[in-house]
Symmetry: C2
């Protein structure tokens, strides 16, 4: 492999939010952009940038369904397989990783429509902002 391509993969995995996305998709097969946005507590734009960087590196695949876009790990790429396994193994016992999975369970209980409404409602990640 060209060294720059390897670096693309490694860089795509050396950020906390992106590792959290990886962890989430390790145990949920497929998640909507708005669900991951909700998990990370960042703006949709920020989540989108992280996600597209991971897609560019070949770590994720995405699927469009209506106006929702679902992401999942790219398990087709055999080269990545043992890397994924290793990262997963290292995340075992991580507080952050465990907490995220619990949070995700709650997020999964809310329909995407509601998540999106909440996110555009201004409350997204600035906690103290008030309704007008």
């Amino acid at each position: 492999m060209i060294m720059d391509d390897l670096l693309l993969i490694l860089k795509a995995m050396s950020d906390k939010n992106r590792v959290r996305i990886f962890n989430a998709l390790q145990s949920h097969e497929e998640l909507c952009a708005c669900q991951l946005t909700e998990l990370l507590e960042v703006t949709g734009a920020t989540a989108s940038r992280h996600l597209s960087q991971m897609v560019r590196a070949g770590i994720l695949k995405n699927r469009k369904h209506g106006r929702w876009i679902y992401f999942r790990l790219n398990t087709e790429n055999i080269l990545l397989d043992s890397f994924f396994k290793w990262v997963k193994q290292q995340l075992h016992g991580s507080n952050q990783a465990d907490k995220d999975l619990k949070t995700l369970e709650q997020i999964m209980g809310v329909p995407c429509e509601d998540l999106c409404r909440k996110q555009r409602g201004g409350a997204s990640c600035a906690k103290h902002k008030q309704e007008i």
Copy 2:
């Protein structure tokens, strides 16, 4: 593992110069700071910073011998083992990696004293600088 520790490892491997150091030590067991400085064509200070970041992440070990310091991969850490294997495998066939190994052969033919003299002689990485 704590997620931040995992990130320390991943970040330590997501830079071209540091991957090149990894590659060099993958096939040379132990190398002096000045040899790696020579390979990367950066200043000694820059090489030193990369090396210490890798040591901090647990990827490298170092050994002091007189005023020379030798670095090698930390093969004692079993957790890193399969990660190292994976990176090594991905580097297979990389032009940069191959070129570096050839360059290293030449570097190994020069005693450290000479490398260091050359490096402090000002020529280090600014190619056009002239002797006074």
